[in-house]
Amino acid sequence: MNDRHDFTAKVSGGTLGKATTYLRQLIHSLFHSSDVKEMLSADKPETSSLWLDISLQRQGFRLRIKTQIALTGITAIFGRSGCGKTSLLRAIAGLEPKITGDICFGEQVWLSDRYKCPAEQRRIGLVSQNDSLLPHLTVEQNLLFGYQRTSPDLRQLHPEDIYQQLDLTPLLHRAVQQLSGGQKQRVALGRALLAQPQLLLLDEPLSALDRIGRQEIVPYLRRVLIDINIPVLLISHQLEDVVQLADFLILLEQGQLKAQGALAKLLHSEPELQSEAMSVLYTRQLPKEPSLPSSVCQLELSEQRILLPASPSPSTNLPKMCRLRIRAKDVSVSLRPLEQSSIQVQLPVQVTHWQAASSTAELFLYLSLSDGQQLLAQISQYSFDQLGIKKGCRLYANIKAAAIS
């Protein structure tokens, strides 16, 4: 907001001009602040948000998006290639010159009819899919490029910490050309973070990497994103990456917003996301018990204690919560709890509805846990008939602990 006012004051000249500008500012700020309040009261988000109402017209392509994204945790922007994901990200970053509409980041106006905040003032970190390191600088110079250009009082992340967290110290004095793909992405991530961004944009940061390259970055990415409290927008066309990292999802289709919401919900309601059907469940990690083997991890899921062989990944959004990814194929159901079975995770559930899977002999069972979370089970039509499943009937969902990640 302040930026905009400074800008209008700068461009006008003369006393009359100044007076008019002042009046305009006054009217605008009154109007605008009530506008924001209204929007805030409508949805009551706990944190500030990114408001978007933008459109972009290009040959054979139209992007038209109006939404509000809560600035917390990791939000994935998901859709097929060509659906406008990258254009949306570039619009937010201020790199798309032909974009029109409004963008507000919390209290800051980034785009309006009369004002466009230049990219260098938005304090956005971007890690894109292709190699974006500056080839004429060394790794260290690349890492410090943004850090040196931020004012000292904004510096909260420091080079030594980031080098250590991302394991960059051995690379510092190398030429950029000597790095592998995964190392380059790690440097790009470190560089973006050292510029002290208020928003981090990840544009398919993994898509150009092979399996080894992914291994070089994924663990670091996850750790850093959990540790550092910066909102993240993650673009991806691979559900795998989205489910691994994000808590919220924005689904784009042909330049339009298709759906938006919590990942766990959308996974079950959007047909596009069911190519590999799975559920995301949130659990609370319980303190270690001395009677249990040290490798076993104790969790509380839907008022039940469950044991897992390995510690699951913590949620980036909810403190002290862990996320479990469970594929629908790995969930079976029974009318009674199984006894003397290797299955460790058995949850009482209620059937909400079902739906045919892609193969006609199988179907997806939508199960509701006692705390309201939803679980998806893929079972055969035959067992469905055998068990005589009806809407609302109570079952036990059995999950192999080893299949949970």
Binding site: A93, G94, L95, P118, A119, E120, R122, R123, I124, G125, L126, N130, S132, L134, P135, H136, F145, G146, R149, T150, R191, A192, A195
Partner: protein
């Protein structure tokens, strides 16, 4: 031949000095014009870009005499620019060193713009966008990102403009004539010597130009190999 080189007359030295001055000044001015122009042409895809591109490339295809002829018309005291210059009380550009600089800039423009344009295209906009997102302002991006990355293009543009201006003849004959110390550059002096059947003097200067040109192109090539490595 070696000993003869040292027997250059004052007139020869004057021409050499004048030529080097003309080439350096032209190169300097060309770089200032060509950097923004090449950037604009490198990423523009509209009709006006094609039109300007055609204008810029024109000196490459037109005989220098045609270019010289139109400049002569344009600069003559009772036409266009020449008219305004006289009205403004400025000295006429025709048959002066300043006129030669103007002519050379136009004549060598494609040799500065083309390599820079190619270079900017290969750099693309991504490094600059990256720098902007990291907080670098316009001049910062230009000076600390674009210029270092465009070094091979800048070297090529500078040496090609210099070398091409060195070989200028037809256009200078049209708008500069042959005034010692003002417009009599090496190529014109060689022509004068030959006209006066003073073949020895013509040979010395020709050889000088030949060596200078080979040297210049050799250095350019080495430099580009270095920066590619």
């Amino acid at each position: 031949m070696n000993t003869e080189l040292f027997r250059l007359s004052t007139e020869d030295w004057q021409a050499i000095w004048l030529t080097l001055k003309l080439c350096s000044l032209t190169t300097l001015i060309l770089l200032c014009i060509a950097i923004p122009l090449a950037w604009w042409l490198a990423f523009g895809q509209q009709k006006r870009h094609s039109f300007v591109e055609a204008l810029v490339t024109l000196p490459l295809v037109l005989p220098p005499t045609v270019l010289g002829f139109y400049l002569l018309l344009l600069l003559s005291p009772n036409h266009g620019i020449g008219n305004w210059l006289t009205a403004a009380g400025l000295p006429p550009l025709l048959f002066s060193f300043e006129g030669l600089v103007l002519g050379s800039v136009i004549y060598s423009l494609p040799f500065a713009v083309q390599p820079l344009k190619q270079c900017f295209r290969s750099i693309g906009t991504q490094p600059l966008e990256t720098a902007a997102l990291l907080g670098a302002k316009k001049f910062d991006r230009f000076y600390n990102v674009l210029l270092p990355l465009a070094k091979p293009g800048l070297i090529a543009a500078a040496s090609l403009s210099f070398a091409h201006t060195l070989g200028e003849f037809g256009m200078i004959m049209m708008i500069g004539g042959s005034i010692a110390g003002e417009t009599k550059v090496l190529s014109v002096l060689i022509y004068d010597h030959t006209e006066a059947m003073n073949y020895d003097a013509a040979h010395q200067l020709s050889f000088f130009l030949l060596v200078l040109s080979v040297l210049l192109l050799f250095i350019l090539n080495r430099w580009q190999q270095d920066s590619r490595r």
